[in-house]
């Protein structure tokens, strides 16, 4: 079917909330039919939000061809670039890339884009005519939208009127065979320009400083600051503080942000897009869970989903609205990053239990809009006087805080008559309006308190004087007396458990002020839970919408009731009343739901326990396992032993990236790991400075282990890596890929299950530079012989009696690791002779260069590189499944070639810069391959031997390719400050058995290279393009001046860039494969911003141009070995691939999110080069981060020829 939309890009004033905060320079796509209406309404309402002012959301069906007549009424060239769709890149790319025809258009022009929609899903679109990341750019000002593609034969109606609609954020979607569902579109937007009523930047009333930047959804935000102002000025809720009522509709009425309305049990899909330009967000939706891939029943269950710019997901709540338990009320939806949440990035899912026909009102008198029941579901009952339905039976008072729930608070009130009418037959504390627990479920009771206690993070005296933690009441005394070390509370139960929680708030009323924050009255607290089933009205541990406030005052106890229906990942809990104020002090914990019939033992004594971050789990049916829980933390407010604040913000209360990092209330900064000879190469060695203070999880060789990874606080992305181990990325799916890295944002939870194949010390890290530098690492220690502090797993053989003492810290350099090559090799052996040396790298033709780079290369190429006859590129090694790989590494590092011999690397910086002189030793660590960590991990860790090499020294690592896992990152682990972002990285590709690697231009066999043809007797010839994404590079320009990216690379920059927008981890230049095509260089030559990707104007970029013919099988190996914490999205125009390359059920997408140190993916292009439709031309590959990535050079071209070219032999398929 052919559909046609006429879309106009217009300038528009966007009013973001009812407080009059607005963007005077907004831009939006709008359907032509609404253009005049929206302009008229905006003119009439200069300080009130207008419903039609929202990102453009249009719909079509799978298999449709959609024609977009695009008209540009903006004062610059603009376009519409669609992700996921197939299209002729020379006609419909919405960009001006390479040698394609320009498909952006000048002001007042029109263009017709033709799109082929092959799959149901979310198709993000945005402008690429103006990619400035600054406030003059188009994307941050709103030029984004979504095309929601439904199953074939679907149609859609307005939920309020039941009439057909052409666009809009809410629709009811119908199908002749499938159930109707509510469709809600949720588009995160960020960094938009915001002015207040006076035309100035909004001021935070508490700190009196400029307010946090815009973070919202669908062009709306509801900042805590604005609502709190009404409290402070005495307009509402006189005794409130602010944060605890931020989401309270009793106090303020409903927010301006989206409220997704439905009835209990309605099937629903939230089309989630990230239309913002910079940060990764975490979408969290109370009460509900969903499959990470709605098409794949074996995929992970989520209730929080990180999302990086220009990526998207479909959230399909399991069991429909209100989940399995049929809970009705308000379920808040928000970005879980607290500074974003506080800034206003939240809305609600409102689930009614009575029919809304437009005749009812909310308690504050605002009419409730009509909501048509879905046509294939029974209509809910009509409201009556005695049963008015949610929210009108709740005994609240408008203008005051929501009432406390009935029955829950010990010594509290019972039910009113209306509440009794709305309640279930046998209400009990925590389960009043719905009971999530089936009869007969075993009950487990926990008594939990929240307390304030100082936390000591490391041996150097770094501490948080106002730590706040959950504890079991029975441990209260021991923890307060120092007899028991504080750790995040982890409670263990089996599935099919009814939790009865008695939660007592033992916090002081006041959170004291210091360099980090102002004095705050945190007088009530609760326990909000993820994953488990509960009654949202009374048991959310939160204060949301028209629900009850299910928290308690200091000294009070509240009873909560939950149900764990199935084996779950670790479920996160935390306070939801003042999390922005105190969660970073430690207010988080988790419950782990194990398989039914499990028992939990103390790993050292074997005594049965029900709590702990490290336990042993035994089960009569499934293999016994060790269970380890790791919580990442950031924004940790630490002081050193002298009371000096560490990394304080610019002013107390500023959300500008305050504080440091922790893991389970500990850290082990590398600055304190230098031994006598001050060599960073031994920072992770336990011989030199002893074991780290961070968790060392224990197992015996061969044990099964499960790692529960969570993030407890507060704003940033982290990249968890385990060196030498790996797990299935989807635990329940044997077809999912092997992984050893996981990106995580706050509130996400992952379970990684694996075996420890050999004895040794395995390093776990949060791998990005600043995290690692500040101490986010530890060990998994696998013993080969019995130790008294660890019981054996009951279903495994008794470990051998100890024949040798366990190693001890000596304070000296670690002994050299054994030589792995003495073992006899079975099967093919492949050898690589690799050298590490310093050289200069030209990053582009404009003279941007790194004169102090450190690279790995094959020995045979070293001389040519040094002589300038060969350009340095990241080292790419390959091996086939079944191969043993011997890599001999020789160091040619020279001390005089290090630029900063004084030991402090000046730029890019990390928090808490300190003396850490460049190491002359170097190593080569590889991901995912099979090796003995004691000899071949390419790092010197714990009590493993030394595996680094000094100048002139050589060492051979032995890796075994036991699985064709594709791309694996490789990097140095000897000095993460002075080597890695400088170029000491590469990639190893594990290919299928029998694969040969050929040069794509000569067809001769090659041993390295980012662009090869893979020839395998059982597979089609395939082009393999290796894209190494990296950042944190210190570049000099052609005049040898340091480039301070991202600031120096911003297009259309104002005279003064707001430095507050920059976090430490944004510093440095970035690109692909040691190349960066910084747009600013191009723009300075030719000041037309829509032309910056044009090869007609500038020639091809310096980043790799990968060439192929239409239909060629193509696999992209994408790897991010270095370096900073900002997650990048990768997007290739006009192509898609399966998220799980080995899983035919997997969804297909055109992007990869969360590219951060350690990430890697193998992308098999569906339909090959040019996709199924076989289009030729220049397809851009790039970052999805408009802010500070594309401008700074993270883009390149995949060129697809239609006709045979002399220089490029065709594939022999």
């Amino acid at each position: 079917m052919k559909r046609r939309y006429h879309v106009v890009a217009i300038p528009i004033r966007i009013v973001l909330n009812t407080f009059g905060d607005h963007n005077p320079n907004g831009m939006m796509y709008v359907l032509k039919e609404n253009e005049e209406k929206v302009k008229r309404l905006v003119k009439k309402n200069p300080f009130m939000p207008v419903d039609l002012v929202q990102p453009l959301f249009i719909r079509a069906n799978e298999g449709d061809t959609v024609e977009i007549l695009f008209e540009n009424k903006l004062p610059f060239h603009a376009g519409m670039h669609f992700q996921e769709a197939e299209y002729d890149v020379c006609q419909s790319d919405g960009a001006n890339v390479g040698f394609n025809k320009d498909t952006t258009i000048a002001p007042c022009e029109k263009i017709l884009y033709k799109l082929h929609l092959l799959k149901e899903g979310n198709y993000f679109f945005s402008d690429l005519g103006n990619v400035s990341s600054d406030q003059n750019g188009s994307n941050s000002n709103g030029l984004v939208g979504g095309l929601c593609v439904q199953s074939r034969f679907s149609w859609w109606t307005d939920p309020e009127t039941g009439k057909p609609i052409n666009s809009g954020q809410y629709a009811d979607v119908h199908h002749p065979l499938l159930p109707s569902f509510r469709e809600y579109v949720w588009m995160f937007t960020d960094e938009m320009e915001v002015n207040d009523l006076t035309g100035n930047r909004p001021i935070n009333h508490f700190s009196n400083q400029e307010e946090e930047s815009f973070h919202g959804a669908n062009y709306r935000y509801e900042p805590e600051n604005r609502r709190e102002q009404l409290v402070a000025e005495g307009v509402v809720c006189p005794n409130c503080e602010g944060e605890e009522v931020h989401h309270d509709s009793w106090v303020f009425g409903d927010p301006s942000t989206p409220i997704l309305r439905g009835y209990v049990g309605d099937p629903a899909k939230i089309r989630l897009f990230h239309g913002g330009v910079k940060g990764t967000h975490v979408f969290h939706y109370h009460v509900n869970q969903w499959f990470s891939d709605p098409n794949d029943l074996a995929s992970e269950i989520l209730d929080a989903q990180a999302i990086s710019p220009q990526s998207h997901y479909t959230i399909q709540p399991l069991y429909g609205l209100g989940s399995l338990q049929g809970s009705f009320g308000d379920a808040v939806i928000h970005c879980h990053l607290y500074p974003h949440f506080v800034a206003g990035m939240w809305g609600m899912n409102r689930v009614f239990n009575t029919l809304q026909d437009g005749s009812q009102c909310y308690p504050n008198g605002v009419p409730i809009k009509s909501l048509k029941p879905l046509p294939d579901r029974p209509a809910p009952p009509k409201p009556t006087k005695m049963k008015p339905g949610f929210p009108n039976f709740i005994p609240g008072k408008v203008g005051m805080k929501a009432p406390r729930p009935p029955m829950g608070i010990v010594g509290g009130r019972g039910l009113t008559e209306l509440e009794r009418n709305a309640a279930i037959a046998n209400p009990r504390p925590g389960a009043v309006f719905t009971d999530p627990c089936p009869e007969g479920a075993p009950v487990k009771e926990f008594n939990i308190s929240l307390i304030e206690i100082p936390l000591m993070y490391n041996r150097e005296g770094w501490h948080d004087p106002t730590g706040r933690i959950y504890v079991l009441d029975e441990d209260l005394e021991d923890i307060c007396l120092g007899k028991k070390a504080p750790e995040p509370l982890v409670i263990h139960t089996s599935s099919h458990t009814r939790y009865e929680i008695n939660f007592t708030n033992r916090l002081p009323h006041i959170l004291d002020g210091d360099a980090f924050q102002l004095v705050t009255r945190t007088y009530e607290a609760g326990m909000h839970i993820h994953f488990v089933k509960f009654d949202v009205l009374v048991n959310d541990g939160a204060n949301v919408g028209w629900n009850y406030d299910s928290s308690v005052l200091s000294g009070e106890t509240i009873q909560y009731s939950y149900y764990a229906d199935t084996e779950l990942k670790a479920w996160f809990f935390h306070d939801h009343l003042f999390p922005g104020s105190h969660q970073q002090h430690g207010v988080f914990g988790t419950g782990v739901v194990h398989p039914r019939f499990s028992k939990y033992l103390d790993s050292s004594t074997g005594v049965e326990v029900d709590q702990g971050t490290e336990i042993t789990c035994v089960n009569p049916l499934t293999p016994d396992y060790r269970d380890f829980v790791i919580f990442a933390q950031d924004f940790t407010h630490l002081f050193n032993k002298d009371g000096k604040p560490l990394a304080p913000p610019p002013f107390p209360g500023s959300p500008d990236d305050p504080g440091l990092f922790g893991v389970n209330y500990k850290n082990e900064p590398l600055q304190f790991r230098l031994g006598k000879d001050c060599d960073p190469a031994y920072s992770f060695s336990s011989y030199v400075k002893g074991d780290p203070n961070t968790p060392i999880f224990k197992a015996y060789e061969g044990d099964s282990i499960r790692i529960r990874l969570l993030q407890g606080a507060q704003e940033e992305s982290h990249s968890f890596n385990v060196h030498g181990l790996r797990w299935l990325s989807e635990r329940g799916d044997l077809n999912s890929r092997l992984e050893n890295q996981q990106h995580i944002g706050i509130s996400e939870s992952f379970t990684m299950e694996m075996n420890v194949p050999r004895a040794g010390d395995y390093l776990w890290t949060f791998e990005t530079e600043e995290d690692l530098w500040n101490g986010l690492w530890g060990l998994i220690r696998a013993f080969d012989e019995k130790v008294p502090e660890l019981i054996k797993l009951p279903d495994r053989l008794e470990p051998r009696e100890r024949s040798k003492p366990v190693p001890q810290c000596t304070g000296n350099k670690p002994p050299s690791a054994a030589d792995p090559t003495v073992e006899i090799v079975e099967g093919p052996l492949r050898k690589y002779d690799v050298v590490a040396f310093q050289t200069s790298i030209q990053y582009n033709s404009f003279g941007d260069h790194d004169p102090d780079a450190i690279i790995f290369a094959l020995r045979e190429d070293m001389e040519a590189i040094r002589d300038g006859k060969k350009e340095p590129v990241p080292l790419i090694l390959r091996g086939n499944m079944g191969n043993t790989i011997d890599v001999t590494l020789t160091s040619y590092l020279k001390p005089e070639l290090f630029p900063f011999k004084d030991g402090i690397y000046p730029y890019p910086i990390v928090k808490e810069q300190a003396f850490y002189p460049p190491s002359l030793r170097i190593s080569l660590h590889a991901q995912l391959l099979d090796y003995d960590v004691k000899t071949s991990a390419g790092e010197t860790v714990g009590f493993n031997g030394d595996q680094t090499v000094g100048p002139g020294e050589s060492r051979t690592y032995r890796w075994y390719v036991d699985s064709a896992v594709g791309v694996c990152g490789m990097w140095d682990m000897a000095d993460i400050r002075n080597h890695r972002s400088q170029g000491a990285f590469g990639a190893f590709i594990a290919e299928p058995r029998g694969t040969e690697y050929l040069d794509p231009y000569t067809l001769e066999p090659v041993t390295t290279g980012a662009n090869v043809i893979l020839r395998n007797p059982y597979l089609p010839d395939t082009r393999e393009f290796v894209i190494v994404m990296h950042d944190g590079v210190r570049l000099l320009d052609k005049n040898n001046q340091v480039i301070f990216d991202p600031v120096d690379g911003v297009l259309l920059a104002p005279p003064e860039i707001d430095e507050d927008l920059l976090d430490t981890y944004d510093q440095g230049s970035r690109g692909f494969n040691y190349r960066s095509e910084r747009l600013i260089n191009r723009y300075r030559q030719h000041e037309k911003i829509h032309d910056v990707f044009s090869s007609d104007v500038f020639g091809d970029p310096s980043t790799p141009v990968f060439e192929s013919y239409v239909g060629d099988p193509v696999t992209i190996r994408l790897v991010t070995p270095a370096e900073r914490r900002r997650a990048h999205t990768f997007h290739l125009h006009g192509h898609r691939w399966r998220f799980g390359s080995e899983n035919i059920h997997s969804r297909t997408e055109s992007y990869v999110g969360f590219n951060v140190a350690g990430a890697k993916r193998n992308l098999q292009l569906l339909g090959g080069a040019g996709a199924y439709s076989g289009f030729s031309g220049d397809f851009m590959y790039r970052s999805g981060n408009i802010r500070w990535d594309i401008e700074q050079g993270m883009w390149g071209i995949m060129r697809v020829f239609e006709e045979l070219k002399k220089h490029l032999p065709k594939l022999d398929n």
Binding site: S494, T497, R596, F597
Partner: protein
């Protein structure tokens, strides 16, 4: 070694063999793993009807499905273990 009947496909022979084996163990306790939901059953074999085993399910991975009579198609069984006097007992699963 029994000679395979040339006219009988191997799958049919296998199904018949399993059906017969279940039929010989009526009243015994069995543990079955299946590829599809709910993946695991423990219970007593009540009867065998064609290629279905009728069983009184005591335990599965989902409590709501317990205490009921189930017909399990022989084809869906990936792994099974029938408790006899000779082998190890199927564990008693207690919450």
């Amino acid at each position: 070694m029994t000679q395979q009947n040339e006219c009988q496909p191997i799958n049919l022979a296998r199904e018949e063999g399993i059906s017969a084996h279940f039929g010989q163990n009526i009243g015994k306790k069995v543990l079955i793993l299946t590829e599809a939901f709910p993946f695991m059953f423990i219970g007593e074999i009540i009867s065998v009807v064609d290629d279905f085993a009728e069983m009184k399910v005591q335990t599965t991975s989902i409590p709501a499905l317990e205490g009921k009579t189930w017909f399990v198609h022989i084809d869906t069984i990936e792994v099974f273990y029938i408790e006899t006097e000779n082998g190890v007992p199927i564990p008693e699963l207690k919450e």
